[in-house]
Structure formats: structure tokens, C-alpha cells
């Protein structure tokens, strides 16, 4: 395992279609993630569901982050520093499953995604490294 943090972090950006939750993303997404985590009580979920915009405005998030939440655009949430385990509180609030929420990030509809999973999932071939194209 490499002990040079720069090389270590650079490698993490070399994986196709993947945003690893590094310090950089953790810092950018800090309040987005803290907002999502606030949905861990029924009382918060009710307040959020009643008026999403007002609930979001109580958090020091960027407008882009708020809009990504309102749109349930999970890829955009990830781009803006969201982490999937934090965001899972949001899709649990919506009452949708982990698999369905995840499928929205793949460009597939849920049914096709489910079929892909039932057939053994996405192959790692060609998905390992951007640089090495393998």
C-alpha cells in the first residue's frame, strides 16, 4: 500500500464513474451530508416533507446543493460532496429502496438495473481504470 498521500489520492480519481469520499469531497459536502443525516428522526422527516425548501434553507448549503436535493439528482449530489450513506437518509425518507435510488445514478431505469443485478451485476471489465483503459 502506497504511503504517499498524493499518489494515493490521485489513484482514487482513476476509477470510471466513481467519486471516492476523500477529504476534498467531505469538506465540500459537509452541510449537505449533515442535512441528510438530520433526517434520522420522524419529526425531521415530517418537517422536511411538509416544506422541503424551507427545511433546506435552514442549512448553510450552496444553492446548487439544495437544488440537487430537491431534484433528487444523486449524481449531482455526489459531485457536490454528498456521500451515499448520508444521502440514504434522504431516499429512505422518500420510501424508496437503496437499489432504486442507486439505479437512478446509472442511466438505467430501475427495471433494467434490477435485471442487470439478477444477471450477476455490472462487470468490472473496462471499469477498473480510466488511465489504463482496463
Amino acid at each position: 500500500m502506497t504511503r504517499d498521500i498524493h499518489a494515493y489520492l490521485a489513484e482514487l480519481e482513476d476509477i470510471p464513474g466513481t467519486r471516492v469520499f476523500t477529504a476534498e469531497r467531505a469538506r465540500q459536502g459537509y452541510h449537505l451530508n449533515q442535512f441528510a443525516m438530520s433526517l434520522m428522526s420522524e419529526e425531521s422527516r415530517v418537517r422536511f416533507t411538509r416544506d422541503e425548501r424551507a427545511y433546506l434553507d435552514a442549512w448553510p448549503m450552496s444553492e446548487a446543493q439544495k437544488q440537487a436535493v430537491l431534484d433528487r439528482d444523486y449524481n449531482r449530489c455526489l459531485d457536490l460532496g454528498g456521500n451515499i450513506y448520508f444521502l440514504s437518509k434522504l431516499f429512505a425518507t422518500d420510501g424508496i429502496s437503496f437499489a432504486e435510488a442507486v439505479s437512478t445514478m446509472t442511466g438505467m431505469d430501475f427495471d433494467s438495473y434490477r435485471k442487470m443485478m439478477a444477471a450477476g451485476g455490472r462487470s468490472p471489465d473496462g471499469q477498473r481504470s480510466i488511465r489504463e483503459g482496463r
Binding site: 500500500m1 489520492l9 466513481t18 434520522m40 462487470s123 471499469q127
Partner: protein, 297 residues
Amino acid sequence: MARITAGIASSHVPLLGVASDQGKDRDEYFGPIFAGYDWTRTWMEAERPDVIILVYNDHASAFDMTVIPTFAIGCGERYKPADEGWGPRPVPDVAGHPDLAWHIAQSLILDEFDMTIINEMAVDHGLTVPLSMMFGKPEKWPCKVVPLAVNVVTYPPPSGNRCWALGEAIRKAVESFPEDLNVQIWGTGGMSHQLQGPRAGLINAEWDNSFLDRLAGDSDDLRHIPHIDYLREAGSEGIELVMWLIMRGALGAAAKALHRHYHVPCSNTAIGHMVLRPDNGEGFDMSGSDRQRSATP
């Protein structure tokens, strides 16, 4: 003297908790998954561990962004299931074993592991799903639990080598606990899965099975797999497998597989499960556990 009598590896997919709680565990989708745990449930009836050291990761439930411990050991009396967005799971509270947990925590710090001691926290699916898989739906869990939460969410997680070494130190700590306890250690999470981005849904059955192959036996080469290999080969959330190495490290130089199960898919994830026995000349015979337990109702 307390001793580690077995190690268990298991995925901890939240959907398995839902299936168990809603009684879907024998339907067409979940049946084949749960069936792979039947052997273990029967075996567990004979083993009757007193305490499980349950290695898992918190999924943004007990720990938010304000505090991110690399290794957190639960020394409390009791842990409630977390509300992960759909209400807490309707499973029993988890009883801790503060005597053993504090003993391990203190020993690990003397051994230069920089532990975070936790006395109060909620436990999420990472901890409660494995309990459901191994014990079903009892009124109360049949043993005590020492939660060991590992950061695998914010990068970098601990290295595989560090995890293995932690396991080795846990073994030593358990063996210096004076009370006669039957202790199991469970490593949870994995196997291959990716829950985010266009690459989500990645599964690598070949890599997973090679990992299972290498988990038994007397080699420790798994500890040298770099993080990037987990991510490339087993998906971004496949990194959870480093937690299995804590379990494996705690079994000593050699371990033999008693049971093995692999199934794709469960939700987004490849299910892997293995039961291991330390194989360092101990010659564990758990048939005595039953007698001992039944003597004290």
C-alpha cells in the same frame, strides 16, 4: 481465560434486515440468500458464544461529520438500533459486555492502537443485520456484543495491514481476560458492491471468491491488498472487506473454513459468508458449551 473460538464473515446489506423484519426471508428472492445461513444458525446452537466482537462500520448513523473515529470500540452497557431514515429496526436492543470491552480497549491502547472509546451510541444495519442473519428473530439476542466500528466511509480507511494487526492484538487481549468466555469475532460488510455513480452495480464474483479462498489457510497475504485494488476490483463499497481482516487477524496464523456461502445479488451487493475456526492446534470442541450453559439457566 477467554478465547476466540470462531470467526464469522458476513455481508450486512440493509435489505436483509428489511426481509427478516417483514418475514420475506424465505421468498423467491431472499430464500437462496438466507438458506446459506441455515448451516450457521444450527451450528451456532451448539457453539453458544458468550460474546461477539462485532466488527462493522457505521453508515453515517452514530457518527456524522463532526467526529470520525478510525477504530471505535463500544464499552457501554446497551445499544439501541438506529433510525436510518425509516424508523429503527424492530429488533432487540444490543447488550454490551463492558468488562470485556474495556479490557480489550485498555489492552489495545497499551499495544499502541489509538482507539476511540465509545460509551453511548446507536447501532445501524452494519451491526444488527449480521445478528439477524446468524440468530433469526429471538426475543432477545442470545449473547453479548462488543461493537467495533471501523471508518470505511471517509478516506483513507485503515490499511488492510493495520486491520489485520488490530485483529492480532484483539486475540492477545481476549486471551488475557481472566473470565472463561467463549468469544467469537465477526467481520462484516462487503463483498463486491458499488452504491454510487454510473459504475454502481459492479459485482466481481471471481475476485470475491478468490478473497474467500485466501481467507482460510495460513497465509496472511490478504493484509497487503492496497485500498485501490478493493475499489477497482470490488467496487467503491467493496472496501468494507478490510473489516474482515480484523476478524481474520484475530484467529491467529491459521484458520480453517467450516462453512462458505456466496450469492449474487442482494439489492446492489454480492453476499459473502464464511465461518472459520482458528487452526493453531487449539482443537476446539464446543460440545461442552451446551452443558455449561444449561447448568446456569
